[in-house]
């Protein structure tokens, strides 16, 4: 039906876009893996980060890739404070409350953004966004290629953090056994907040890498949320490799789905994978069996 050239191109396109999905999912999988909460505010926080990138460029002339140095740490702080100050405090440890609080936060953020930034679709006009690199038969924009590389780098960095540092060990301890970790002298609340902060910092990175190719409006978060959840479940909650591989798989599925079933029905691949994974391997491809 389709020539091999088209199939290969679709594959490459899928990989490239999958990397962006993976970036969004990386933060979510950490938050889910450690805190066991479904972070409803994930999309809204991505949106805020994207606005930050937009304003840094338009008001201060800072290139989005340079902005990484600013956005990542500041969103870490934002995430930390959000958890420490609001989520952790108000949730009283109940999972469904955390869910609703993050939901409430997303309503607040989206509408505050609407109020302050208005609803216009905002884009960045960067010259290098039109530089195309040839990868086989496919033409890939420079920003997409950079995102691809960056997602792997960030995924690796996160993995190193978890595996090799003391902080990482503490996070893993807390994720596995909350009470025991506390008994070992680990400040669990602090660790929770740090984990949430890292997760949100990932969103900051995702935003910097996404803005050159995309656009932002107050409701842009919705566009990525379900996909992010699917990837987290597919890859395995708490697994960064899983988020990367999951992102690529979803990207490719979406690409081929669109090619064979049309862009509208082609979307079915995503919930289908979601359902199948949940039924047959709920812990995900790389998740640890409970």
């Amino acid at each position: 039906m389709f020539e091999p050239v088209i199939l290969v191109t679709a594959l490459i396109n899928g990989l490239m876009f999958g990397a962006i999905y993976a970036l969004v999912a990386l933060g979510l999988t950490l938050i889910y893996g450690v805190l066991h909460i479904i972070n409803f505010a994930h999309g809204a926080l991505l949106m805020l980060a994207m606005y930050a990138v937009y304003f840094l460029f338009n008001l201060l002339g800072i290139d989005p890739y340079l902005a990484l140095l600013l956005v990542i740490p500041s969103f870490f702080v934002l995430g930390y404070l959000l958890y420490r100050g609001i989520i952790g405090k108000l949730a009283h440890g109940q999972d469904q409350n955390i869910l609703l609080i993050t939901l409430g936060l997303s309503v607040i953020f989206e509408n505050a953004a609407l109020f302050f930034f208005k609803a216009d679709t905002q884009t960045l006009n960067l010259d290098y966004a039109y530089e195309m690199i040839e990868i086989g038969p496919a033409l890939v924009t420079l920003p997409k290629l950079i995102s691809f590389g960056a997602s792997i780098v960030i995924g690796l960095a996160l993995w190193l953090l978890m595996a090799k540092t003391d902080l990482g060990k503490a996070i893993r301890a807390v994720a596995k056994e909350r009470v025991g970790a506390r008994l070992m002298g680990i400040n669990v609340d602090h660790i929770f907040a740090v984990s949430y902060g890292i997760g949100i910092a990932c969103l900051g990175a995702a935003a910097c890498l996404l803005m050159p190719s995309f656009y932002v409006t107050p409701t842009i978060g919705h566009v990525f949320v379900i996909i992010a959840f699917t990837i987290v479940v597919l890859g395995g909650m708490g697994s960064f490799i899983g988020a990367l591989v999951g992102g690529f798989i979803i990207g490719i599925t979406e690409s081929f789905g669109g090619l064979f079933l049309g862009e509208s029905l082609g979307q079915i691949g995503i919930p289908l994978i979601f359902v199948l994974i949940l039924l047959f391997r709920p812990t995900g491809l790389f998740g640890v069996k409970a």
Partner: protein, 412 residues
């Protein structure tokens, strides 16, 4: 456990007392707050001020409020001796909230409505208004169902997609002919909901009737994050023309992707293109240049049109079609109130039905209402062209309103 059953129930008596009291005060206080004001002709604005269509909603409000200001500055509704008053409502993009707002406003003494940008909300809201027979002046909704339900209170000054697609096809054929008919195949890319699907279906049929080959009709999701594969498919089909019908975010993404993927085509000829406006041309000029759209648009040769554009841009806003469509929907109502000399709904609806409102800055024929639809309305073809270093919109067809000739096919 303990006395779970009992303690889980709140004091029912307390609840009923509290809600009973608030309900009674509400039925006196709530809507009445609005009617406590001085005598004025109140027009309810029902637009999506929040949610994903908040931008067009804000633009609609802007246009409507400008109309109210101007009319009041000229003396308001002189035959009634009252000024116009805009009562702002947020539909939040949902039919249920839009119609609830209508009810609230109707009970607080609003005399007419304008809205709703979205056809789905417009349908529900105008139906709610029909119960009170209050005039409802549709500003932007393009679904033809809006004016085909036999409701005596619904009017639309602008066009519906039935006639817009007709104009689109006619204009395209004329533009093509003027260039020697180089194009004869097209691909339509549309968003999946009623707006996109309905328009695409009509376009496809009409184009085929006039001899075009429709290579494909590509439906895409709302929202779509990535058009790489769509670009791929289009490139393999090699159509002469691409016809997008979608909302701003996707419109821009698609246009960008087509350029990035170096997809060759003679023209992008969108119909009701969501993102085709001055903002697009300002921010992404290299992409916008030479794109053509068929849409509600003002007559660039009219003094009033130019003046209004300046005024809006002086406020730091863009002169998008929502602004003047709502502006005109208010003019339509004001004119009817003036001629009726009363706010009585029956009289106003009758006045609306016989309206001969001056199109003013719109490229329309004379106003004539048939079943609530203004038959004089028309959509025009606009192209983004570079004028003195800046990319600006020029009306390129029909000739009587054109401000420039179409550049078709676009230069290689």
């Amino acid at each position: 456990m303990k006395n779970d059953n009992r303690t889980h129930q709140i004091s029912r008596r307390k609840l009923l007392k509290a809600s009973g009291a608030s309900v009674v005060t509400a039925s006196i206080g709530f809507p009445a707050i609005l009617s406590a004001q001085s005598k004025s002709v109140k027009i309810g604005f029902i637009h999506p001020a929040s949610g994903f269509l908040a931008y067009p909603g804000a633009q609609c409000r802007l246009g409507g409020q400008m109309a109210v200001e101007e009319i009041n500055a000229a003396g308001g509704i002189r035959s009634i001796g009252a000024k116009l008053e805009a009562v702002l409502g947020d539909s939040q993009g949902k039919p249920e909230i839009g119609s609830a707002e209508v009810e609230k406003m109707a009970e607080s003494g609003v005399n007419a409505f304008t809205g709703c940008y979205q056809s789905a909300v417009g349908l529900a809201a105008s139906q709610a208004a029909a119960k009170y027979n209050l005039p409802f002046s549709i500003d932007v909704g393009v679904s033809d169902r809006l004016v085909s339900r036999g409701l005596k209170n619904v009017f639309r000054f602008a066009d519906g997609y039935g006639r817009i697609t007709q104009d689109a096809v006619n204009n395209l054929n004329e533009i093509n002919k003027a260039a020697g008919s180089p194009a004869n195949s097209a691909v339509i890319v549309h968003e999946e909901s009623e707006f996109g699907s309905g328009t695409a279906r009509l376009l496809s049929g009409r184009l085929k009737d006039t001899g075009w080959e429709i290579k494909d009709v590509i439906k895409h999701a709302n929202p779509t994050r990535n058009f790489d594969n769509v670009a791929l498919r289009i490139r393999s089909m090699k159509p002469d023309i691409i016809i997008p019908v979608n909302y701003p975010g996707e419109y821009i993404l698609l246009a960008r992707t087509l350029k990035q993927q170096r997809v060759p085509f003679m023209a992008s000829y969108s119909v009701l293109g969501g993102g085709f406006n001055f903002k697009f041309m300002d921010e992404l000029p290299e992409i916008a240049e030479h794109m053509i759209d068929v849409n509600h648009w003002y007559n660039p040769n009219s003094a009033k049109g130019r003046e209004m554009r300046k005024k809006v841009e002086a406020k730091g806003k863009y002169f998008t079609f929502e602004v003047y469509c709502t502006y005109n929907s208010i003019r339509l109502l004001a004119d009817a109130f003036e001629r009726a000399g009363t706010t009585d709904p029956d009289a106003v609806n009758a006045a609306l039905a016989t309206s001969t409102l001056d199109p003013l800055m719109m490229p329309y024929g004379p106003t004539k209402m048939v079943n609530g639809q203004n038959m004089g309305s028309r959509a025009v073809s606009i192209q983004a062209q570079k004028v003195g270093g800046k990319v600006d919109a020029q009306v390129v067809y029909p000739n009587e309103f054109a401000s420039a000739k179409a550049i078709f096919p676009r230069p290689a």
